[in-house]
Amino acid sequence: MNRVHPETLLQVEDLHLSFGANAVLRGVDLAIVRGQLLGLVGPNGSGKTSLIRAVTGLLPVAPGQVRIAGIDLAVDPLAARRQFGFAPDPTRLPPALSGRQALSVAAAARGLDTTPASTLELAERLGASRWIDQRIETYSLGTRQKYAILIGLIGDPPLLVLDEVMNGLDPISSHELKLELIERCERRHCGVLLATHGLEIAPTLLTDAALLHEGRIRHRWGSVELGHWRHADPGAFERAVVAALRSDPAG
């Protein structure tokens, strides 16, 4: 058995995933430690969502291993799932429930007696509380997205797994979400895996980034590089990703 660093919240090793003859992930290795906000970038169809679904146990993988806070997802999925929060696809939220009811159900699913005050406070900051007692089917895409995020963050799990959560958010909500994620990583020592196409947000939000292409991690950028670009040249990350993709022989 591999030794896992006690600060490691997510350890993905040699992860493979296929849909029939179509190999989607071809040996992905990834790790997230406490305080790290890792951005997963890559072109459409590169396997980002499949990786997210594999990490959250929604897709069975073979071979490969996913450990959440040291717990093997395949061996003890329940204990592993207690360690992460996942924002579901906003289109899959129950349309006939209100936002408040959906939050109550999500709280119950995490073993909480009631929706935490911090979640309701975040709903207020994201501008989602105005519609909290209306049915989800009446929500706009952005409001659905906000509730999906709130569901993912409920109960303060140490690891957050988020897939394209900035889609549909207005500038204020997007800003508030960034502040919340940074605060969670810096003060509460959480870890975040964020799949995104929004390269412009990367330097200001991420501590690390990984480029997934053709089912493999092709390039990584660390906190030093991203930190340098944040101050010197915010557009440099976008150029670096495009250059990495163009120089990739698999592309």
């Binding site: 939220l93 129950p94 109550s104 159900v105 999500a106 709280a107 995490r110 007696d113 797994v161």
Partner: protein, 373 residues
């Protein structure tokens, strides 16, 4: 909102019930009208059934003998279990990838919730069967306790099995279902283009989803004692045609609403989208109606009478499809409009039969206009 930690799936069920109740209360007039329409329809069904009970429960029928009655009981149990299994498997497929799929829920909790949901459904069926039996027994002049007991025990046994052993799809079975659904979605006739693709896509999927056909087995109960054995295949075919017509309407309605949802913002007239399904619907209805009419004629119905019923079946399917078109913006009203048309048609048949074509045409035209708005 304070709540005690409980099973999230059951919590969702409770919230949905609460929301539905609130919605009914908020739309008092509409709810009252729906309830009244349902009551009228139920009253009519009970009135029509009166002569049937007497015939079914007559001591001289084959069903009054222990062995055939036991077979009917077993068929009832089987039908209830099959329905519950199908619902349980559907729920299991939804649970595998829904918004709570990545939550830290023990597998047992969701299995338990499925069992409760399927069990409640089976209990409702049991209640329905027993109430119908009680009513039939009360109304029938003679009683055939063997059949009544067999039906009661069969429904009780079926519900108990559904409650205690809801079952879950095995992995290979779930994969097989997914593969079949994917294949259905893509097996469209080569060369089909544009909106007609939508109608063409219905064809293979509908052919693989005969949902009501197993219930045809119960049509045996309706056969009079004097039915010659040679006529049985014809009768079965006749009832199969009827149930497949119901499947056709149900399946089309689901697909039509789904297609409309993603094409709603396109510069597309409602009737143009509706037209995409017409070749398929016409073909299928024609075949089913002809089978229905031919069976009737072969079984001894006069040609004119068989022809009239053939046209009536086709008209009923067309009317149901138009009701679906009319209620495309509020699909919840589809059953209500169907019941309303049913009541109008039946009332006309009783009061002034010659006016039936005109009344029916009026209903169809109103639905067509509503749909085009």
């Amino acid at each position: 909102m304070a709540l005690s930690p409980t099973n999230p799936d059951l919590l969702v069920r409770d919230f949905l019930r609460h929301n539905r109740w609130s919605q009914w209360r908020a739309r008092t007039a509409e709810t009252a009208f729906s309830a009244l329409a349902l009551l009228v329809f139920a009253g009519f069904a009970l009135w029509v059934g009166d002569s049937l009970w007497t015939r079914l429960l007559a001591p001289g029928t084959p069903w009054a003998r222990p062995l055939p009655a036991a077979l009917v009981g077993v068929a009832t149990a089987f039908a209830i279990v099959a329905r519950a299994r199908s619902r349980g498997q559907g729920l299991a497929r939804v649970h595998a990838s829904d918004w709570l799929a990545a939550m830290p829920l023990p597998a047992g909790a969701r299995r338990n919730a499925r069992a409760r949901l399927v069990g409640s459904d089976a209990a409702l069926w049991l209640l329905g069967v027993w109430l119908t039996l009680a009513w039939a027994w009360l109304r029938a002049d003679q009683s055939a306790p063997v059949l009544v007991v067999a039906l009661a025990l069969g429904s009780l046994g079926g519900s108990a099995i559904a409650w205690l052993m809801p079952g879950a799809p095995s992995e290979p079975a779930a994969e097989r279902i997914q593969r079949r659904e994917r294949a259905s979605a893509v097996a469209i006739a080569a060369g089909t283009q544009g909106l007609r693709l939508l109608g063409a896509a219905l064809e293979p999927a509908a052919a693989r989803l005969p949902r009501s056909a197993p219930w045809v087995a119960f049509a045996f109960l309706l056969f009079p004692q004097s039915t010659p054995l040679i006529a049985v295949p014809g009768l079965v075919l006749l009832f199969t045609a009827l149930t497949l017509s119901l499947d056709l309407i149900g399946h089309w309605h689901v697909r039509y609403l789904a297609d409309q949802a993603w094409l709603d913002a396109q510069p597309l007239l409602p009737r143009h989208l509706f037209r995409a399904y017409l070749p398929y619907l016409t073909r299928r209805t024609l075949v089913l109606s002809l089978i229905f009419g031919a069976c009737l004629h072969v079984l001894g119905a006069p040609l004119l009478f068989a022809l009239a019923l053939t046209v009536m079946l086709a008209a009923a399917v067309a009317d149901a499809v138009l009701c679906g078109f009319a209620t495309r913006r509020a699909p919840g009203r589809f059953p209500m409009l169907l019941i309303l048309h049913g009541v109008i048609v039946v009332a006309t048949t009783q009061v002034l039969p010659p006016a039936l074509p005109l009344v029916w045409l009026g209903c169809a035209l109103t639905a067509w206009r509503q749909g085009n708005r």
